[in-house]
Subunit: 435 residues, 2 copies
């Protein structure tokens, strides 16, 4: 059987998973690529560290030039996280003639334009299906399977850590803090989970998907984002009472005002497929004008699912498909469409408001008036007996209002007015409702 | 912009949908294929029939040689249903140098080996993602995105007509007959729905998917199949009481005895994604050793979803990906694995039995003994007050038994013994339970 030499740079969680597939299942790459993907080198920083895979003698090295200097190595899985030295190493690999597979969404979201342009100049390709939604092959599905469609909306649960935490808070009726610890204990959250829980990771992934699905080039930092790090059990409880679950949703919807993009904790009706995604799983809803609704569900991270996507990309490269796709789609180089990002203020949806109000007459009327003045109409209200849900000594009544459709701008302005009312306690909360 | 001439043969539901995308959305094919797919000819049988699309002058013809004789036409969407003349036309198109996209699962399931072999000899390709699950791109996902995996199981709802009927029976508590009429009225079932409701269509699709996922060449006729055409409301009701829904499931599972294949009405626990698939939708669960569980959901038929898949395949051809995949995978030509089909008798699972028994002491004990003699142990029993659920005048008691895991052979033998008991009425029912 013909063989194609490949290398891995960065032998952490994902890298070791890729090495294990290449070493233990050469029959699969041979059958599906028509050539055995032969692991020639695995580059690490620290040779003395224990690795989660057994490598044949001579494969492990801390010298990148053993890869860049070997013209027989055609395909490299670049699996170092973060921006530097990952970016510089990507460029070195491209210059030395390698096609590159990566799982590094931060790098693609931040430097996709530069890296893809350089790859194109050099006649090389970059594949990155593992960078978004781990084992769910959403990049290939969007860029190859749904090409007859105008996608009108795409929304998903793209960060498994956040989803695990939100699910745990709901199922165990637990605090955010407890759920983070639990996620760390079970290996679903890093020691420092900031980028996951504050929405950064989901926004980077959304920027990548929106580029492919809508042809729009966007800086992920411009996507309005809110994480689950300020989620309170009280909101999860009220959402449940209303028949919803709260998920960290990454959403892109075409509207008359452009592409509505946001990452935010959102209420999704229980029973809807996205609402039922629990634990570390990811899921994505895509709506196309031809195909209608499509729903994908699977593991968004973890060694094996991510390695599954990386190796599929390596096989695509060996077969030659990636080079054709890369050349044709011109991703990250051109805007394929005139679609503009909708101003965050203009994003439309129903809203959930939760206030803590003093328990005396007239307060609801006052709040309703403030909403009305912004043109927001109320769909439903829950007001229970006073309770003391956040450890405050004074007794407040939680008041929950679900509105009909309004813009984020209207909702934000109403919230500002209401928050200043003396009868309303600080810490009011507003979330989008996904219907 | 460069253009690639294409043709459609067979301008029915799907063909007209393909024509509309090509004619109305040339920007999409241009962007995603790097060349405009230019509809040069559309071949029909009867020129006088009204068509569900408007064609430019000179495109419509009833003369296939206008396609076979034009060397500039590279890609043809062959969208005639059934075996002949579709098979002969496919061969003529291949001989004249065309790459072919088709949605015809019957033809692929029946003559895939012949057609693919001929295409390979002639250096041509065939693509068929529309042939299974309509808008869900399951063929591309299996043959390209999941190539790093050993798939261990694949099960799905692959026939939208059956699913519509089963859903309607459940939701409306209606008879099979009523639900079929309703499906016909709404356009979800043909005037003669036999191939859909008796499991033929699902078995043909399962044979295609199993070939790609497990590398096994199987005659679809050898797959044990049962349709929904004998489904009774009483079973749907009992399933519901037990917390299950009944779906026509097409299933392929690797076991120690080989590949367990079957198409049959099966009990799926309510809340499981597959159980919640309603109306004409399709859905597929795939389990891979790397990726873990993946779930796909979308429209399995209809003009637009199917055309979405056909046009994506045409774009793949124009880009050049199909030729590479076709050459590498050698589908329908070679067995890629030593996997054998498991003898139907050996398929393992939990079983649902429903008997109508005479309402007198000792009957349950007798039945339990017969099951025990086959080594089948009982998980749960429902026995209600006598009722008259199928119009019989004599009053019988329905008795439902859910078993622990046993083989189909054991279950069939026990059923035979029990059915002969004088206290048991003919028409007992047995179904697999999918846990
Ligand atoms: N883990 C997942 O589930 C997952 C899922 C999807 C995407 N991703 C992405 O995949 C990438 C890798 O993630 P991971 O979880 O595998 O990270 P990880 O476990 O932290 O591994 C990163 C590896 O990169 C190596 N490295 C760092 N700098 C290097 C250098 N200069 N030269 C050579 N090697 C260097 C490290 O080597 P040492 O071991 O010697 O320090 C380490 O082995 C990240 O971009 C991540 O966002 C991960
Ligand atoms: N409909 C769906 O939702 C769907 C979904 C998935 C797959 N499929 C598959 O797609 C294929 C087409 O389905 P369909 O629903 O589009 O069928 P359809 O509406 O019955 O259309 C079939 C077309 O083939 C034409 N035809 C028959 N013999 C011909 C011949 N000798 N020369 C030229 N044209 C000929 C017919 O022409 P006339 O109109 O002149 O009679 C008709 O327009 C079938 O294999 C089906 O299984 C359909």
């Amino acid at each position: 059987m013909h063989k194609t030499k490949v290398a891995i740079v960065g032998l952490g969680t994902v890298g070791a998973g890729v090495a294990k597939i290449l070493l233990d299942h050469g029959d699969r790459t041979a059958r599906n690529a028509g050539t055995t993907l032969w692991l020639e080198k695995a580059v690490v920083r620290d040779l003395s560290r224990a690795r989660d895979c057994e490598l044949p003698d001579g494969v492990l090295t801390d010298d990148l030039s053993e890869v860049t200097g070997d013209p027989e190595i055609k395909v490299v899985a670049q699996l170092i996280g973060g921006i530097e030295p990952a970016r510089t190493i990507m460029l070195q690999l491209l210059e030395s003639g390698k096609d590159i597979v990566t799982a590094n969404k931060a790098l693609i979201a931040e430097h996709g334009a530069e890296l893809f342009a350089r790859a194109r100049e050099l006649g090389r390709s970059i594949a990155f299906d593992a960078a978004v939604a781990g084992g769910i092959p959403i990049i290939t599905n969007l860029s190859q399977c749904l090409t007859a469609n105008q996608v009108s909306s795409l929304s998903g649960i793209l960060n498994g850590t956040s989803n695990f935490i939100a699910s745990a808070m709901e199922e165990q009726e637990a605090s955010y803090k407890w759920a983070v610890k639990e996620a760390q204990r079970l290996g679903y959250a890093e020691a420092d989970p900031t980028m996951d829980v504050d929405g950064t990771d989901a926004a980077q992934k959304l920027a990548i998907l929106a580029h492919i699905a809508f042809g729009i080039k966007i800086d992920w930092k411009k996507i309005p984002r809110e994480g689950i790090d300020k989620l309170l059990p009280v909101d999860i409880r009220f959402a449940k009472e209303l028949g919803y679950r709260i998920k960290l949703l990454a959403s892109a919807q075409l509207s008359d005002d452009g592409l509505e993009l946001h990452v935010s904790p959102s209420l999704i009706r229980a029973g809807e497929p996205l609402a039922e995604v629990r634990g570390p799983f990811n899921a994505i809803n895509v709506e196309g004008d031809q195909v209608g609704p499509l729903f994908y569900y699977g593991q968004g991270a973890g060694q094996k699912p991510t390695a599954s996507a990386v190796v599929a990309d390596m096989i695509d490269m060996a077969v030659g498909r990636t080079a054709l796709t890369f050349r044709t789609l011109k991703l990250f180089t051109e805007n394929h469409s005139d679609v503009q990002m909708c101003s965050p203020d203009k994003i439309r949806g129903r809203h959930y408001f939760r206030f803590s109000v003093e328990d005396r007459p007239g307060v609801l009327a006052e709040i309703a008036r403030a909403l009305g003045e912004e043109g927001i109409s109320i769909a439903s209200v829950i007001q229970h007996e006073p309770e003391n849900f956040d450890g405050d000594t004074k007794s407040y009544t939680p008041l929950v209002i679900m509105t009909h459709t309004a813009t984020q701008g209207q909702a934000a302005r109403a919230l500002e007015v209401i928050s200043k009312m003396p009868t309303v306690k600080p810490g009011a909360r507003k979330m989008l409702v996904q219907d």
